[in-house]
């Protein structure tokens, strides 16, 4: 070995960084959805993990009940989960906009428990098998590590989706309406824009992102009713570090914390589960509005 960093050969380090980036992709897509919902609706969506889980289950159901494969599921499952989210928004969440954040949090937390409980009741806790699509099985030897093609796809897909969402919200006319509607719904409504419709679609979109991440996760993680509950706390930490409601903050922090976690897994694996929360504590102490957040 030419040089080693703290006893770790550079190839290993490269491999771990790449893996961190892959995990960061999941954090980015999930925290993006949360940030969109929080930034534009002021709802702390605790049901996000349960909806991510639904995405994975819908993919499994499409395959096992209807014979619909991964690629269609990648489009259909987010649409279906998004539609489910819209129903939730119309029937329940829309009644809470005028109230404190806490009510939305409690409602979505309760919904998450109900959704997870229902899935556990019908499908058990052990999980369900879902194979990697044939076109993406196998992998490439990069010299320093074996990169499964599916993981490479995850990075690309999530980067495209994240950039697309950021572009739509920050750079298009539709995004401008959205942002305006959060600033001053009454005024925007006065210009003849259907604000409730915008809000409903935004929630549906944020939720669809969770469903999309669920489909991405199905072939590599265990598809079980608790898969979202395990992840959601980390994703919340990511959003807090990035700055509540900041789209770009959520995306960048997602990737960055994936990397940090990857490094922790090499140097101090026992601490890899808490490193994100340590960072969150530090950020809250030094910069309470988050890395990219605007001070209130």
């Amino acid at each position: 070995m030419m040089f080693e960093l703290l006893g770790i050969p550079p190839q290993v380090l490269m491999g771990q960084l790449l893996l961190g980036l892959i995990n960061g992709s999941f954090y980015a897509v999930l925290s993006l959805g949360l940030a969109v919902i929080f930034g534009l609706l002021n709802i702390i969506n605790f049901a996000h993990g349960a909806l991510y889980m639904m995405g994975a289950f819908v993919a499994w159901m499409l395959l096992n009940y209807f014979g619909i494969g991964y690629w269609w599921a990648l489009i259909l499952a987010p649409l279906m989960v998004g539609a489910f989210g819209i129903v939730l928004e119309r029937t329940m969440l829309s009644r809470l906009y005028k109230l404190d954040h806490l009510y939305g949090l409690l409602l979505t937390f309760g919904l998450a428990l109900i959704i997870q409980g229902l899935f556990r009741n019908y499908y058990g806790i052990s999980g369900l098998p879902y194979q990697i699509p044939a076109a993406l099985s196998g992998g490439t030897n990069l010299g320093f590590m074996f990169l499964p093609n599916y993981r490479a796809w995850v990075v690309v897909a999530s980067a495209v989706v994240c950039f697309g969402a950021w572009f739509m919200i920050e750079k298009t006319r539709l995004g401008a309406y959205l942002r305006a509607a959060t600033e001053n719904p009454t005024l925007v409504g006065a210009f003849g824009i259907n604000v409730p419709l915008l809000v409903m679609l935004t929630y549906g979109f944020g939720v669809a992102l969770a469903g999309f991440a669920g489909v991405l996760a199905a072939p590599i993680y265990s598809v079980n009713p608790n898969m979202g509950a395990d992840l959601i706390i980390v994703v919340f930490a990511v959003v807090v570090i990035g700055g509540m409601g900041s789209i770009m903050g959520a995306i960048l922090t997602g990737y960055m914390l994936g990397l940090v976690e990857g490094l922790a897994r090499v140097f101090y694996p026992e601490g890899s589960a808490v490193v994100i929360f340590v960072i969150m504590a530090i950020v809250l102490l030094i910069r309470p509005e988050g890395l990219c957040g605007r001070a209130a």
Partner: protein, 399 residues
């Protein structure tokens, strides 16, 4: 003198008759995980198994009035302890069944000894239940980490897997399983080239798998359970680790986990269990009835709840009362038990039930003829070889 004895005998006989006429009240509590990671391998299925045992024992015809209650300990020792105390103190429970999750089982073992109840443990793995924390009121029925190690660990080392790398779930159970397996691996001429303590529970094992891959080990020992093991195996296959010749040893893996993974990914894995539904006519017949009620094939933990309950009820009947837990357990230890699912079972002085363990290999998708047709039996490990020898200070039959 003779007269007194005669009167006493008559009175005793009268007493016995009254007891028989009124029946012996037995209350069983199934305490396990009903919503978390172990809910599929124990959960409601264990309650179904206990009910089947009461029915098959013919409890009512034999003068036993058996009631079964159940609760969720959520894998938390404090919750499990509270329920156990409530059951013994207020609800009149005589025996607690199942209790997966070692930390909860150890807490319940102490309370059971204090209240002179009985714990027939099927779900927990820690060997401490019949060693460091052995109690006269504990029977550990189905398996323990040493038995798992003696099966999978020995077999894989003998088959040429000399260098081991461990991915260990970073809590009591994982460390216990790792320690038992290392002992077996080293005793059979193998060595440990590295290990990682993985935070529990974990979604992504790729970093740890890559470290294992770089270590040059022949075998990657997975000292974890449930969803963690499923994730690790799924990702090992994805990263081409198994294809490149490194073998995975799933040290604790249940039939429900293999079912979750599917034979495509799980094929070729070797694993140790005490029971598989498709072993012989008796296991098939019983499992078919279980499936008809529960909708899934039984795990060894659920089968163990059934068999443990049968043996417990027989002992209660022989003793004539369920009140004195230590006496009932002592009765269980008196003679070998012929069990419909586990064969010949001997409950040792320390409460360890010994019976054959089996090494299985997961079938490939071509070999598997149905959703639950998952294992081929490779070998049988006798009870003496599978379980650790008894510690003298834990032999309660000598005290």
């Amino acid at each position: 003198m003779f007269r007194t004895l005669a009167v006493a005998t008559t009175l005793g006989a009268l007493g016995a008759t009254t007891a028989l006429a009124q029946g012996i009240d037995v209350k069983l509590g199934v305490l396990n995980d009903r919503s978390g990671v172990y809910a599929d391998l124990s959960g409601e299925g264990s309650v179904v198994a206990a009910r089947m045992a009461v029915e098959d024992f013919g409890a009512a015809a034999k003068g036993l009035n058996v009631t079964i209650i159940s609760a969720d300990h959520q894998n938390k020792p404090d919750i499990g302890s509270n329920i156990a105390r409530q059951w013994y103190d207020a609800d009149g429970v005589n025996a607690i069944l199942d209790v997966p999750t070692s930390s909860v089982a150890l807490a319940v073992a102490d309370i059971t000894a204090e209240k002179n109840g009985v714990m027939i443990n099927s779900g927990a793995g820690s060997t401490a239940l019949t060693r460091e924390q052995c109690r006269p009121t504990t029977v550990h029925w189905t398996y323990d980490t040493a038995a798992l190690a003696s099966g999978t660990g020995k077999n894989m080392t003998d088959a040429g897997g000399k260098k081991w790398f461990f991915l260990t779930a970073d809590y009591a159970f994982g460390h216990s399983l790792e320690e038992n397996t290392i002992a077996v691996v080293e005793a059979n001429g193998g060595e440990v080239v590295g290990k990682v303590n993985v935070p529990f529970p974990a979604q992504d094992f790729s970093s740890f798998l890559l470290q294992a891959q770089g270590s040059g080990a022949d075998v990657i020992g997975l000292a974890n359970a449930g969803g963690d093991t499923v994730n690790a195996i799924k990702q090992a296959s994805e990263f081409g680790i198994t294809q490149a010749g490194q073998k995975l040893a799933a040290l604790l893996f249940f039939v429900t986990d293999v079912h979750a993974l599917g034979p495509q990914t799980a094929q070729g894995l070797s694993l140790t269990e005490a029971f598989y539904w498709d072993q012989n006519d008796q296991t098939r017949a019983w499992s078919e009835r279980f499936m008809a009620i529960h909708g899934k094939q039984p795990t060894m933990v659920q089968a163990g709840v059934y068999s443990g309950t049968l043996a417990y009820l027989a002992a209660v009947q022989a003793v004539g009362s369920a009140k004195d837990g230590a006496a009932v357990v002592a009765k269980m230890k008196e003679a070998d038990i012929q069990d419909p699912l586990f064969g010949t079972v001997k409950v040792r002085g320390d409460g360890r039930a010994t019976h054959d363990m089996y090494l299985f290999e997961v079938k490939s998708p071509d070999q598997s003829t149905g959703e639950w047709d998952l294992y081929t039996q490779v070998s049988t490990i006798s009870g003496e070889d599978a379980f650790l020898p008894m510690l003298d200070e834990c032999d309660f039959t000598k005290k």
